[in-house]
Every structure is written in C-alpha cells, then in structure tokens.
C-alpha cells in the first residue's frame, strides 16, 4: 500500500536510495485518529506560525531513520499539493512543514504522513511546551575567542623576540592592538565563567569556575595596567588562550544527544486530545480540559488518560506501562481503570472520576519533585581547597615582598593568580568527560551529562527491573502441560492461533511452528477471554484460566477440544541470553536486587541465577520507589535499571537511573542515562570505564599541579615574564588534552568495548 502511494507520485527513487527502506511493521491507524486536528483550539496550540496564506508546523516523526526517509519526506509536496515545503532536521527527527491552509489542512497532512509510515507523534507536551532556548552562544563565544587568541599570539611575537629601539612605535601599536583584541574575549567569550561563578557564590559555594574567573579578571587588569603605563605587553595571549581552551572543552562536554530526551514526564506520553461522548456524539477535546464525569471514548491501542470507570464495552488493559505486569488485564463494566493503561481490546467508554493531573500515574511524578540533591562533582570540591591554597600563597608572598621590596608586591601577587588558574584542572575534567561521553555513546550508552559519569563511580548497589529489562519483551518462552497433542491436533491449534493477533496467540502459533495450516471456520475472538473456531470439524477453543474454572499464578492459555480441557500452554518471559553472566559478573562487585511488578511465577528461576540477591515481586511503582529510598537510607548508592513508566519514580529517586530501550528511538522515562537493550551486557565494562575516567582526571590534575608549581616558582619571585606564561600555559593545556585523549582511548580499547 505504501508502495502504491509512492509509485503513483513518481517517488520510486526512494527504493533505490537505500538497501532497506521503510520500517517493516506499521500500526494500522484508526480513520478518525487525527480528527481532533480539525478542532480550532487544538490546532492553534500545535501550529507555530500562521498568516493569511500559509501555516508552519513542526512535527516530531520518530520513524525517521535513513536518507530515504529524508528524500521521501522532503518531496512530500507531491503527495499533497497543498504542502509548500518540508525540511527535515535529521538528528531531532523533526519535520518543519509549511503549507497553504486554503488547499490542505493540518489533519490531511497528518494523515498523509501516517499513510506512508511516518505517523506524527503529537503529545500533551506539545501543548504545554515552552520554547527550548538552544544555546548557540557558546559556539560563537568559542569562535570569537579563537579569533582573538590567534591574532594576539601572532602580535605577541615581536614582544618575545625583542624589537630593537628604532621600532619602538611598532611595539606600542602591537600592544594596543592586543588590548583591543582582548576586549571581546574578556567581555563576551568569558561570560559563561563569570555567570557560573557568580551563581555559585550566591549559593555560598566555590565552584571551579570561581578561581578561573578570578584569574581571568586579574590577568586582564594587570595586562591593561602594563599597557597603559607602558611597562610591558601584558598577558593577553595567556588570558585569551585559557578562555579559548576552556570553552572548547565545554563545547565538547556539552555536546548533547539531540535525538534523545532525558526528562520526559507523563505529558509526553499522553495524547493531546481525547474523544468525549456528549449526547451520543464524539467530540475531540484537549486533554487538560477533560473534567470529572466526562465520558471518554477510548479506541483500541489508545492510552487511558485519566482514572475512570468503564461504562461501555469490555476492556483489556495493558498496564505494562504503569505496573510492569506483562499480561493485559480484562475489565468489565463498572470496573475501575487507571490512567496509563493501554486498551488493547475494542473501543470502550470510560467515565472520568479523577482529573488528568490527579490520576495515580501522574501522582508518581508530582509526589517527588525536589529530591534533586545530587552530589557535587569531585572537581568542584577540589577547587575549594585549590582556591584556599592559592590565596594563602598569594598572601604570604605579598607579605614577604612588603617587607623586602614594596615595588614587587603587585607583580608577584598578580602573577600568582595568573599562573595558579586551575584551568588545567578544568580542562582535564571537561576534555576527559567529553571524550568518555563520546566513547560511551558510540557504544549506545547515552548519558544525560558529564555528572552522570561521576555518579556511576559511586554506585554500590544495582537494582534491576525484571520485565523488559532482564527479560526480552518480544520473546516468550512457552511450555505445554496436559494430554500430549497429536501431530494433527498441533496443526489445528496452530491454525486457530494464527488467526488472532493477540500476542499470546501469536506466540503459540510461533512456538508450534507449523507451515501447512488447515482452514478455520467460524473464527471468533472474544476480547479478554480467548479465541474459538472449527478446524477440520473440531470445535477448538484457546482461552484464559477463568474459562477452565481455574486460577493460575502464571500466565497460561488453556486448550479445549470439543469443550473439554486438553492441556495448557504456560508462558514465561525469556531472559536476555547474557543475563546470567551479567548478573554473575556484577554480583562480584555490587549488591544486586531485582524488583518486578509481575507475579511470583519466576521466583525460583531468578533466585537460581542470583545467589544472595534480593528478589521482590508484586512491586507497584510506588513500592519500587520506596525500596530505592530504603536502600539509600541505609547509605547505599543505588543504580536503578528499568524500562517502563512503572520504573519512572524509582529511576528518578535512584542515584543513577538508566533506562533500557529496545530501540533508541522509542520513548523512555525520565532518567540519567539511556542504554540500548543489547548493550546491557557490557554494563560492567562501562562502569569500569567511568572509574578509569576519574583516575585520568586525577592523573592530569597532578600533571597540571606540576606545571603550576613551576610557574609559581617564578611568580613568587616576581619574575614571571609574559614569555614564560605564554609557554607554560598553552603547553600545559595542549599536554592535558593529549594526555586525556590518549588515556581514555587506550583504556576503552583495553576494556575491549565493542566500538
């Protein structure tokens, strides 16, 4: 079908561009899914700009994955003549579409995109959004600093090489040129350092930027004084140099993963609009406007947005999102459904009993807002002592020269501040972190920021969620119990099971693995109960435990031949193949816990794999959070590894929350890091790399102290010439950069990381 649409518009080139274009599976989309885009209120919230001829809108299209997507989407005007242009931002997976609203509509565009497999993801967050200010300033500041630094370097040469008396005027001009070139660096490029240190001072805390800012200011004042009094050329080259190098480190470290989002809350999961039934009519309404006692129509595969009571239809709610329980729950009229559950059966009507913001799911987020008291970085703690030592040395030197030679007080003291700038420490920190972040993200472990590296090194207790984290959600292990099935019966059961799209039926069909299936007559699927039909004149039924009059603790499906129970299929989650070895390796160095929202069917199996670890079942999201808190109150530093919204509270509470994702395009809950599910096996090595990171920083810190001591030796004597400063400063900076780069690369290779 997709091919037909594409072919009819002459976009077949799409298929030539890439080996495997298109995403194989697509979810069928309900016809009126985007009807809410006709609603003016909702539309106005989504579009970015509108005048009398055109409208601009930006859609998030999570399916974008290759250059063919780019080609197809940017030529979308051939599918819908009303579209004027479409620009894709590939890393952000966003399409900026400009269209003529007299010829097409927002809804049409959304439907066109969906029909070719790029369903726009429109969530509640799109409404509440505040425009994120992208910081392009840092790059410009870096550019300006680089420009000024290189020119000042060039013009400082005559000063160092010595100009003879006859060209005295040239020297003056060069000094003044340096002065003017340093102004943009001092007032513009160095701004982030002033800002950060001012902020930390206001919180009565000395961070690493404070001594750096102090050094920049003192160097500048001293240099200006030298130029104005005609005594020397100043240290403009050193000053602009440190600013340039430190900004470069900062840019490297702050390179963010645009395609990932680390701070999603429930609003990014909920739809913008829901259908409210009023006098038998369906009306789309914006989610925040839904009130108690409204009746919502929930279609198949849609999320229940608010707690409510079912008033019509049979519900089959998949709560895996909220509780981690992997099997859908059947609910009838009059029963309660909670927000966050996904309806997998037919359409149902739900009467809202709590507003969206008060539902059980959202209370998980609201309940624990200000617990962001993360430990401060080691570098900032060091900087406090660093500053103290520098001030002490400066004071002693000042007093000494006061006694002996008053004229030397000023040059000696300022020289100390210039040379003792902890820029090497800051540089080693930001360059090492930036490099480790990049090594990790090549290995598909994406960290939110550099602080996470340090948090990981403190961890001594690792808590795993079971469902979806240790187990693979797309694979199920099946065993059969009861009267053995004959080959013929197997064929018949397989035929019946393959008629249904229910995950368990699909799993049974896959497990039986039979190709020549007989025809099924009178097939019927009863939502929440099972499937039935005639196969080769046998009345067969596959159904839930309740149909057989039994209650089982584990997930089962009973097989009936002519209304008599023949046997049952037992489903259990299959562990990722590397889980036993992973747990064993981690168990040597960390305390391990496994918590699960599932029932206890797996207990024996798990305990066999984990000797001495804590295994907890029936854990609701709030229980998981409490468990983490309990561990932390005992003094443990906890790393939580989970996958679903049901872990969201725990991920946030833990010292390091890592969200596991099958596919990094999908939506993960708020966390400190996101890891690709397959890469979980390398976790011990990643943790080790983070430890090495700290060692590299300490090593380069010592290296930089050696430089500082050499510099201080000249400084306290009052003989620090601009030439020595100009040699010491860049050589230590470049040395640090090379050292950290080589050390982190070498350790990554030694750990045999896959990439």
């Amino acid at each position: 079908m997709v091919y037909e649409i594409i072919n009819s518009s002459g976009l077949c080139n799409y298929y030539n561009l890439n080996e495997t274009p298109g995403v194989a599976q697509r979810v069928e989309v309900r016809k009126d899914k985007f009807a809410y885009l006709e609603n003016k209120n909702i539309r106005d919230q989504i579009i970015q700009f509108k005048n009398d001829r055109q409208t601009r809108v930006s859609f998030f299209l999570p399916q974008i994955h290759c250059s063919s997507c780019l080609y197809l989407l940017e030529n979308i005007h051939r599918l819908d003549a009303g579209i004027i242009s479409c620009r894709i931002n590939f890393p952000a997976k966003k399409a900026e579409i400009v269209f003529d609203h007299s010829r097409t509509s927002l809804r049409n565009i959304a439907e066109t995109l969906t029909s070719i497999g790029y369903e726009p993801y429109i969530s509640l967050k799109d409404i509440n959004r505040s425009k994120p200010a992208i910081n392009k300033n840092l790059l410009v500041q870096l550019g300006v600093a680089g420009f000024c630094f290189s020119n000042i370097m060039l013009m400082s040469f005559p000063e160092y090489l010595g100009v003879d008396e006859t060209e005295e005027s040239i020297r003056g001009i060069f000094r003044w040129a340096n002065f003017f070139l340093s102004l943009p660096v001092f007032f513009y490029s160095a701004w982030p350092f002033y800002e950060s240190s001012w902020k930390s001072l206001k919180h009565r805390f000395l961070n690493i930027d404070a001594p750096v800012a102090l050094a920049i200011i003192i160097t500048f004042i001293r240099s200006v004084w030298e130029v104005f009094s005609g005594e020397g050329g100043g240290y403009f080259d050193s000053m602009t140099g440190i600013v340039f190098f430190m900004l470069a480190g900062r840019v490297l470290q702050d390179k963010t993963h645009k395609q990932l989002s680390f701070d999603r809350d429930f609003t990014s999961y909920f739809p913008v609009a829901v259908s409210v039934m009023k006098n038998g009519e369906e009306n789309p309404i914006m989610l925040p406007e839904v009130k108690v006692n409204d009746t919502l129509l929930i279609h198949s595969q849609e999320l229940v947005p608010a707690d409510g009571i079912i008033v019509k239809g049979r519900a089959l709610i998949d709560y895996s999102f909220v509780t981690g329980e992997s099997l859908p729950e059947a609910k009838g009229i009059g029963e309660l459904v909670y927000a966050g559950g996904k309806q997998v059966g037919g359409p149902i009507e739900v009467m809202v009993i709590k507003e969206v913001n008060n539902s059980y799911l959202t209370s998980l987020w609201n309940g624990q807002d200000d617990q962001e008291e993360k430990t401060r970085s080691f570098v900032h703690r060091v900087s406090k002592y660093f500053t103290l030592v520098v001030f002490t040395i400066a004071l002693i030197t000042g007093l000494y020269w006061w006694q002996h030679d008053v004229a030397k007080v000023w040059p000696a003291v300022t020289a100390i501040f210039i040379i003792a700038c902890p820029c090497a420490l800051l540089l080693s920190n930001s360059f090492t972190n930036g490099h480790i972040l990049r090594i990790l993200s090549r290995n598909k472990l994406f960290l939110k920021n550099a602080q996470v590296i340090e948090d990981i090194t403190g961890v001594n207790h690792i808590v795993f969620d079971k469902t979806g984290t240790l187990t693979n959600p797309s694979e199920q292990e099946i065993s059969y119990e009861g009267a053995p099935l004959t080959a013929m019966q197997k064929r018949q059961v397989a035929a019946l099971a393959s008629c249904s799209v229910h995950p368990l039926s699909r799993a049974i069909a896959g497990w039986l693995n039979i190709t020549d299936k007989p025809a099924v007559q009178g097939f019927k699927e009863i939502t929440g109960t099972g499937i039935e039909g005639f196969v080769e004149d046998n009345w067969i039924k596959i159904g839930a435990a309740t149909d057989a009059g039994k209650a089982d603790s584990s997930a089962t499906a009973y097989v009936f031949f002519e209304n008599r129970v023949t046997g049952k299929f037992i489903f259990c989650n299959r562990y990722r193949h590397f889980v036993p070895s992973l747990l064993k390796e981690l168990g040597k160095r960390f305390k391990i816990s496994v918590i699960s929202g599932d029932n206890e069917a797996e207990k024996a199996n798990l305990e066999k794999m984990l000797s001495g670890a804590t295994v907890l079942f029936h854990q609701k999201p709030a229980d998981k959070l409490k468990y983490i808190e309990k561990l932390q109150s005992r003094g443990d530093k906890v790393m939580m590894i989970g996958d679903g919204l049901n872990d969201a509270g725990a991920l946030k509470q833990s010292n390091t929350g890592i969200a596991v994702s099958e596919n990094t395009n999908t939506f993960t809950p708020a966390s400190d890091a996101i890891i690709d599910a397959d890469q979980l096996r390398w976790l011990p090595r990643f943790i080790r790399l983070c430890h090495i990171n700290k060692r590299i920083i300490i090593a380069s810190f010592i290296y930089s102290i050696v430089y500082n001591v050499v510099g201080l030796y000249f400084a306290v004597q009052g003989t620090l010439s601009p030439l020595i400063a100009a040699i010491l400063m860049p050589s230590s900076s470049i040395g640090i950069v090379l050292l950290t780069y080589a050390a982190s690369n070498w350790s990554a290779r030694r750990l045999k990381l896959p990439d």
């Binding site: 080609y71 550019g143 420009f147």
Partner: protein
C-alpha cells in the same frame, strides 16, 4: 607608517571576515543538523510544478 601596520590591518580584516562567516553559519543553524544536508545534495533535483 611601516608596511607592517598595513599588513597587520589586512590580516586582521581577512581573519575578521572569516569570523563573521563563522558567526553567520552558527546563527543560521548550520551546526544543528549535520546529516541531512550531506544527503540532500545527492538527491535528484526534480522539477517542482
């Protein structure tokens, strides 16, 4: 005026031009998406109606 001063002025203004070009490229968003432009250039330019 020594010729060095003229050279100085020339070199700084040339460098300044590059700086301006860099600032323009940052402001116009060229560092935001480093994948699509390189692919986009390979697509056939077909006539738009």
């Amino acid at each position: 005026m020594s010729v060095i001063i003229i050279l100085l002025l020339v070199s700084i203004s040339v460098a300044g031009l590059f700086l301006a070009a860099f600032i323009w490229s940052v402001k116009s968003g060229q560092y935001e998406d480093d994948y699509s432009p390189s692919s986009r250039i390979l697509f056939e330019e077909e006539n738009r109606k």
